[in-house]
């Protein structure tokens, strides 16, 4: 007969063994491969629609998709910051439990995933089903070696100058009179001389300064040559010209440095969010920011109606003042995703009614046929929304280039464009030195790209 003590010990050992096995099983479960997306009734999507407006619009769209198809959507919105969002997508797509659909910057990011086999080639599906309802920008930065690896999840215009008409009026400045960069500088100098703050910049966050380098280079070289310059860092078989060290590019960098006295005091230490609030607070004349600033206007509800114009043309530049910089979010299908379910979503997403509603709700330009009657934006941003759309439409063939941070090799733009934009202003590097470093890095990248 077993004694009670032994009995208890046996029970304790059994319990301990169970706990151990449970822990091992849980650990192995957590680390095991999640496998491919085999369920036809659910898709998962990692996206940057995480601001309140974007998330609500996405949830509404997903609910409508589920109601129509019976396919549920596991929504995984992530903070949209470039520093953290792109690593989150990379981790997700490289995991064994990849999301069905991922949204990330078009251009080098998408190409990297395509080359790595992490995303699906959707060329045939696009040509058969989506091409007829898509415009040129639908696959911009998503086509590699003639194959399509994503579609646009909505485009933004980047090279915009926002202005406060009420503030400018105090200094007898009318933005409508400004057509060239030189006129713009004169206007800002006038404000500065009268004791005002001409323009605001949140340089601490690095990428806002990268905007200026993009704007100046595009206006100096024109969109076509700018794209050629950027492509040298990522694509194989590119010509060796233009170079970063070309006088026009160096001068473009210098033009940015020359703007230094016009920015607000302490701009080097200011965050972009603070710069947003300074402009929306009515304390400044101009602000360079992309079309996504519409959301900030919607949320901030400033006491004035902001105006918007394109970055002015340089008098001796090759780029026209109508040329736009586009940012394109790429909607990519994971290599392991269920093709039928994800294709159903792509077809739904690009439908005229869905694209119209979603584009208007998120202030994104949808490069698809859209039902204009459903493209309704709030009154507070309607005027600016229409203006920005007209910029995109009027830019014409060859009048658009992708943003530098969507066209240049990811390591090069982070190291030299983002950090370099701050270095130029802090005196850490000269335009000539930055141009040389960019050229050296580009040559290295070209070697790596074959």
């Amino acid at each position: 007969m077993t004694s009670p003590i032994r009995q208890r010990r046996r029970w304790a050992r059994s319990a301990l063994a169970l706990v151990t096995m449970g822990t091992i099983a849980a650990t192995m479960g957590a680390c095991s491969t999640g496998g491919a997306d085999t369920s036809a009734t659910e898709i998962s999507i990692i996206n940057r629609w995480s601001d309140p407006i974007g998330e609500a619009a996405a949830e509404e769209m997903f609910a409508a998709f589920t109601a129509e198809t019976g396919i549920t959507v596991n929504n995984n919105p992530q903070p949209s910051s470039g520093d953290t969002y792109q690593p989150a997508v990379r981790s997700a797509l490289s995991s064994s439990n990849a999301p069905s659909i991922a949204i990330d910057n078009a251009g080098p990011n998408t190409f990297e995933y395509a080359r790595s086999g992490a995303i699906m080639d959707i060329t045939d599906f696009f040509n058969e089903t989506l091409a007829s309802r898509s415009s040129a920008g639908a696959t911009s930065g998503e086509t590699l070696d003639g194959r399509i690896y994503g579609i646009s999840a909505g485009a933004v215009v980047g090279n915009l100058i926002w202005y406060n008409p009420d503030y400018l009026a105090q200094f007898d400045v009318d933005a409508a009179d400004i057509t060239t960069y030189e006129q713009w500088v004169d206007a800002m100098q006038k404000i500065k001389d009268a004791g005002g703050t001409p323009i605001v910049l949140g340089a601490k966050d690095q990428w806002p300064g990268g905007h200026y380098l993009n704007d100046f280079v595009q206006r100096a070289l024109g969109s076509e040559q700018t794209t050629a310059l950027y492509n040298r860092t990522v694509a194989s078989g590119q010509p060796d010209s233009p170079k970063w060290t070309d006088p026009a590019v160096v001068d473009a960098f210098q033009a940015y440095v020359d703007m230094k006295p016009l920015f607000q005091e302490g701009f080097l230490g200011e965050a972009q969010a603070t710069a947003d609030s300074l402009f929306l607070g009515g304390e400044v004349g101009f602000y360079e920011m992309g079309s996504w600033f519409l959301t900030a206007i919607q949320n901030g509800d400033p006491g004035f109606t902001p105006g918007v114009m394109l970055f002015p043309a340089l008098e001796d530049g090759a780029g026209a003042g109508t040329e736009v910089t586009l940012g394109n979010d790429s909607l990519m299908v994971s290599a392991d995703a269920n093709p039928e379910a994800t294709q159903a979503f792509l077809e739904f997403f690009t439908r005229p009614d869905v694209a119209a509603k979603f584009g208007a709700a998120t202030s994104k330009i949808m490069p698809y046929e859209i039902d204009q009657s459903l493209s309704v934006v709030p009154d507070v941003i309607k005027g600016q929304w229409d203006t920005i759309n007209s910029f995109a439409t009027d830019s014409g063939d060859g009048g658009a280039a992708l943003f530098n941070d969507q066209a240049i090799d990811v390591n090069i733009y982070q190291t030299y464009i983002w950090q370099g934009s701050v270095g130029l202003m802090s005196g850490g590097i000269t335009p000539e030195e930055l141009a040389q470093q960019l050229e050296d890095a580009t040559v290295e990248a070209q070697k790596a790209n074959g």
Binding site: C31, D83, A203, E265, G269, S426
Partner: protein, 311 residues
């Protein structure tokens, strides 16, 4: 029966002891197994993995496209000015932490230990930031250091020292000290609590006896207090150095390593290389280098402490 053979009773007792020992061993292994498995999976495997990856070129997406590059990453590391500049920033940061956090927290701990009024209140005030997320503290610090809306420049202007106002986080000279000040102020309380605990262990009778014998306060501090708190002080110094070299979150949130790398640390550089530049192989080499640096610091520190203890 041979005389040397153990008696049956003894044999049975030994067998029983062996069984008990085996049972105890099995139970011990079972008890540490969950932690051991987790530690192996989430600590040892990644460490070994990073070491292996440091000899490769990989973009972090598809393991099938990994290529072995031998010592290329380490050769590049040795020649990488940005890495050494980042390492130098860590050294500067460690020095600031050593001077201000170690000595400062000891001083405050000594004052509180001396029995000033409101000692408990000051303990809470100094310790409270320790339990707050460092990201939250860094976000708050950004507002403090804002050139246009920040409290620091505002105070300077109010007291007539507007000329000293700076674009703190955007200044080559001030970015790193600003981050260090934030880090030190947040973590100061932890060192202070450790020192308070150490000071409470100092033998008061010995101090009083020394005082009666005419020893000066400095002599008492040097001869009695410091030797008594040496183990804790070593821990504080060691943690300060190690945390200074592992520094990431405060820098990343406040400056992102800028302006133009002026506040980059090894880990912010590593992070940007791996997750910004898609160079996981090279970033792993940086990680291995950091591992070696921290290992050397720990060994040197422990050896110094042991030698002093023995002497």
């Amino acid at each position: 029966m041979a005389l040397s053979a153990p008696l049956p009773v003894v044999r049975a007792r030994r067998a029983s002891q062996k069984r008990a020992a085996a049972r105890t061993t099995w139970q011990a292994y079972a008890l540490i197994a969950p932690a051991g498995i987790l530690y192996t999976l989430f600590q040892l495997v990644p460490i070994v993995g990073a070491f292996v990856l440091s000899f490769t070129s990989w973009n972090g997406i598809n393991l099938g496209r990994i290529t072995f590059t031998g010592f290329d990453n380490y050769v590049r590391l040795v020649q990488d000015e940005q890495f050494w500049q980042s390492a130098l920033h860590n050294v500067v940061f460690a020095a600031l932490v050593f001077v201000f956090m170690t000595f400062g927290s000891f001083l405050i701990a000594a004052i509180i230990h001396a029995g000033i009024r409101g000692g408990a209140f000051f303990r809470i005030v100094f310790f409270a930031p320790v339990v707050i997320s460092s990201v939250a503290v860094a976000m708050l610090a950004i507002f403090f250091f804002s050139p246009s809306q920040g409290l620091i420049n505002e105070i300077l202007r109010t007291i007539g020292l507007g000329g000293l106002a700076q674009p703190w986080l955007g200044s080559n000279e001030w970015a790193l000290p600003s981050v260090a000040a934030t880090y030190i102020l947040q973590n100061f309380g932890f060192s202070m609590i450790l020192f308070l605990s150490a000071l409470s262990q100092v033998n008061d009778e010995m101090c009083e006896a020394a005082e009666v014998d005419g020893a000066s306060q400095g002599r008492i501090l040097w001869g009695i207090v410091l030797p008594s708190i040496r183990p804790i002080a070593s821990v504080v110094v060691l943690l300060g150095f190690i945390n200074s070299f592992r520094l990431f979150d405060t820098v990343y949130v406040m400056t992102g390593g800028g302006p133009f790398h002026a506040s980059d640390t090894i880990v912010t550089y590593l992070y940007r290389t791996a997750f910004g530049g898609n160079q996981v192989g090279y970033a792993s080499a940086i990680g291995v280098a950091l591992f070696v640096i921290l290992g050397v610091i720990a060994v040197v520190q422990l050896r110094l402490t042991r030698e002093r203890g023995e002497s």
